[in-house]
C-alpha cells in the first residue's frame, strides 16, 4: 500500500468520526468547569451509592448472621429509589445552570451579538446537559449495578435485562427533570428561583397531588403518574396511584418534554438580551 493510499484512508476515517457540534461542546465546557456543580453531581450520584454499599459490606462482614449480603435484588431496588431521587435533584441543578447561567452572567447578550440563532443557542443546551448529567448518573448506576451483582452472595442478583431496563428508565427520569429545569430556568432567568420551584414541585407538590384521589383522571396529567406507568416492574412494588395505559403514559411524558422545551425556546428567542 502506498503512502498516498494510507494518508487518504486515514483522512477519510477521520472525517467519518462524528464530531460534537461546537455549540454543544461550548455548553459542556461551561458545565464541566464549574467545580461546585461537578462536586454536587458526584455527591448526589456516585458518592451515596459507594457509601451505602460500603456500609452494607461492613455490617455484613461484621455480623453475617444478622445482616445479609450487600448485593442482591432487594438492595438494588432500594438503592435505585435513592439514586433516582438524588439524580433528579442533580438533574435540576444542572438544568437550571444550563438555562440561567448565560443570562445571569450577562454572556447571553454576548452570544446573541454574534448573530447566531437564539434557537440554536438554546438547542445546544439539552445535549450538553444530558451528556454531563448522564456521566454522573451512569457512574452512580454502574456502581449500584456492579455492587448488587458482585456482592449478591446467596441472594438473587438482578439480571441483565432488568439492569438494562432500569438504566433506560433512570436515564428517562433524570432527562425529564433536566428538561423541566432547563425550560423553567430559561423562562425565569434565575437559577435559585427555578431550583426552589422545580424541586418543590417534584418532591412536595406533585406527589401530594398524586395522592388526592378526588382529582380523579386529572392526575393522569402528572409526570409522576406517567413515570409510574413505564417503571420497570421489579422496581415498582406498590399499587399504582393512577391506572393509565402505556400509550397514555408515553403521551404525558412527551408532553412534559415538549412543553418545557418549547416554552424555554420561545422565551430565549423573544427576551431582550
Amino acid at each position: 500500500m502506498s503512502t498516498t493510499t494510507v494518508t487518504a484512508e486515514l483522512s477519510a476515517r477521520r472525517t467519518r468520526v462524528p464530531r460534537r457540534p461546537r455549540l454543544v461542546s461550548a455548553e459542556f465546557l461551561k458545565l464541566r468547569r464549574r467545580r461546585g456543580l461537578v462536586g454536587a453531581g458526584l455527591a448526589l450520584t456516585v458518592l451515596p451509592m459507594v457509601v451505602a454499599y460500603t456500609i452494607l459490606l461492613i455490617i455484613h462482614a461484621a455480623n453475617p448472621a444478622k445482616h445479609g449480603p450487600a448485593g442482591g435484588l432487594q438492595n438494588f431496588t432500594d438503592s435505585m429509589d435513592v439514586l433516582t431521587t438524588l439524580s433528579g435533584i442533580a438533574a435540576v441543578l444542572i438544568g437550571t445552570t444550563l438555562g440561567a447561567s448565560d443570562l445571569s452572567s450577562g454572556v447571553f447578550r454576548e452570544l446573541v451579538v454574534t448573530g447566531r440563532s437564539r434557537l440554536a443557542l438554546f438547542g445546544a443546551r439539552l445535549p450538553a446537559g444530558l451528556a454531563f448529567l448522564w456521566a454522573f448518573v451512569g457512574a452512580g448506576f454502574a456502581a449500584t449495578a456492579t455492587a448488587s451483582v458482585a456482592f449478591a452472595g446467596s441472594l438473587h442478583a438482578p439480571g441483565a435485562a432488568l439492569l438494562v431496563e432500569t438504566a433506560a428508565w433512570l436515564a428517562l427520569v433524570t432527562a425529564l427533570s433536566l428538561v423541566l429545569a432547563l425550560g423553567v430556568s430559561s423562562v425565569l432567568g434565575s437559577r435559585g428561583t427555578t431550583i426552589g420551584i422545580v424541586i418543590g414541585w417534584q418532591i412536595v407538590a406533585a406527589p401530594l397531588l398524586l395522592q388526592i384521589k378526588t382529582l380523579g383522571s386529572l392526575r393522569e396529567g402528572l409526570l409522576g403518574a406517567a413515570i409510574e406507568g413505564v417503571e420497570p416492574g421489579a422496581l415498582f412494588t406498590g399499587p399504582a396511584h393512577v391506572a393509565m395505559s402505556i400509550t397514555a403514559a408515553v403521551g404525558v411524558i412527551v408532553a412534559w418534554t415538549v412543553v418545557p422545551l418549547a416554552v424555554g425556546a420561545w422565551r430565549t428567542a423573544t427576551r431582550d438580551a
Binding site: 452570544l111 451579538v113 448573530g115
Partner: protein, 311 residues
C-alpha cells in the same frame, strides 16, 4: 456617497418604553472606514440604539441596515462581520479568558476559533489567557472584550462606552487601539458621553440628546458651525473693551488674563475686519488677534443649551 459607503444606516428608528421614547425617529449614517462617535449625555438613548442594531431588543418603528444588510431580516449575515462591546463586557467568571473566547468562537464561523490566539496577543493578554476571568481587573476585562469582538474579523466594531472605568493609561492605550483598527480599514462606532474622548478618537460624530440626533457630521465641520470667537490683546485692553462693547456684531466680550475674548454674533468676516480697523483708528497697538479654537465640547453645549431654551 453610495449606499455601500455606509456601514450603519437607520431611518426613522424609534424605541419606546411605554410613554417614554428612548430613541426618537433617528436617521443615522455611519461612513465606512472611519471612527464615528455617537455622543450624548447619560440617558440620551445611545445604548438603546446600539442594542437595536445588534438585535438585543426590538425597534418600535423604523428601519436599519448593517453592512448594507437589512436587520433584523438578515441579522445573522450582518452580525457575522460585526464585533461589539455593549456596556460592560460580561464573561463567565469561572472560565479562563481563553475559554470565554472559545465559547463565543463556537457561536461564530469555524475560522473564529483560529483567531483566538491572535486576538489575545493583540490586546496584550496572551500571558494571562489561562487565568480565570474572576481574577481579571476591569481593564483586563475590557481588553478581553475587545479580543472577543475581534473573533469576527469585524468590518464594523461597535463599542459602547469602552473606556468606562479605565485609568488614564488604559484610556490612552484604548485610543491607540481604536485608531489602529481604523488604520486597518475597519469602521469603529464609538458611543460615549465623554466629549474629549470622542474628539480625540473620532473623525465624525452624531450628537444625540433625549433620543434624537441633534447634529451630525465631521467634527471639524460641526465645530466650525459654532459662534466665532476671537482672542484679542492690545496696548490698552480697557479702551478696547469699550470699543467692542459698543459694536453691534459683538455678542459677548470678556476680559481674560491673556487678553479679551470676543464672541461675534453675525457676519463674522466683516465684523472682525471692522473691529481691527477701529482698534487701529483709536491708536491702539494690536498684539494678538486670532480666532479661538472651538472645541466639540463648546459646540455640544451650544446645541444642548439651545434645545433647553426651545423646550
Amino acid at each position: 456617497m453610495s449606499t455601500q459607503g455606509f456601514v450603519v444606516e437607520t431611518s426613522g428608528l424609534t424605541k419606546s418604553f411605554g410613554d417614554r421614547m428612548a430613541v426618537a425617529n433617528v436617521d443615522l449614517q455611519v461612513p465606512r472606514g472611519a471612527a464615528f462617535g455617537y455622543l450624548g449625555p447619560n440617558g440620551a438613548g445611545k445604548t438603546t440604539l446600539i442594542r437595536m442594531l445588534l438585535g438585543l431588543t426590538q425597534a418600535t418603528a423604523g428601519t436599519m441596515r448593517l453592512l448594507g444588510r437589512p436587520v433584523p431580516e438578515e441579522r445573522a449575515a450582518a452580525l457575522a462581520r460585526v464585533g461589539a462591546i455593549v456596556e460592560e463586557p460580561r464573561f463567565h467568571a469561572h472560565l479562563t479568558g481563553r475559554e470565554n473566547l472559545t465559547i463565543v468562537a463556537a457561536a461564530r464561523e469555524r475560522e473564529a476559533h483560529g483567531r483566538i490566539d491572535g486576538a489575545l496577543a493583540r490586546v496584550g493578554l496572551s500571558q494571562r489567557a489561562d487565568e480565570r476571568v474572576k481574577r481579571y481587573s476591569l481593564g483586563m476585562r475590557q481588553r478581553l472584550g475587545v479580543a472577543r469582538s475581534l473573533l469576527a474579523d469585524p468590518e464594523l466594531l461597535i463599542l459602547d462606552e469602552p473606556t468606562n472605568g479605565l485609568d488614564p493609561a488604559g484610556i490612552h492605550e484604548f485610543r491607540d487601539m481604536i485608531r489602529g483598527f481604523v488604520t486597518e480599514g475597519r469602521t469603529v462606532l464609538l458611543s460615549s458621553h465623554l466629549l474629549d474622548e470622542v474628539e480625540k478618537i473620532c473623525d465624525e460624530v452624531a450628537i444625540v440628546d433625549q433620543g434624537k440626533v441633534v447634529a451630525h457630521g465631521p467634527i471639524a465641520e460641526l465645530a466650525a458651525g459654532a459662534k466665532q470667537t476671537i482672542l484679542i490683546a492690545t496696548s490698552d485692553d480697557e479702551q478696547a473693551l469699550g470699543i467692542f462693547s459698543e459694536h453691534r456684531a459683538v455678542a459677548s466680550v470678556a476680559a481674560e488674563s491673556a487678553g479679551i475674548r470676543v464672541t461675534l454674533g453675525e457676519d463674522v468676516g466683516q465684523a472682525a475686519d471692522d473691529l481691527s480697523r477701529r482698534l487701529v483708528h483709536a491708536g491702539l497697538a494690536i498684539r494678538r488677534f486670532e480666532p479661538a479654537r472651538v472645541s466639540l465640547e463648546q459646540r455640544f453645549l451650544e446645541i444642548t443649551s439651545r434645545l433647553e431654551e426651545a423646550a
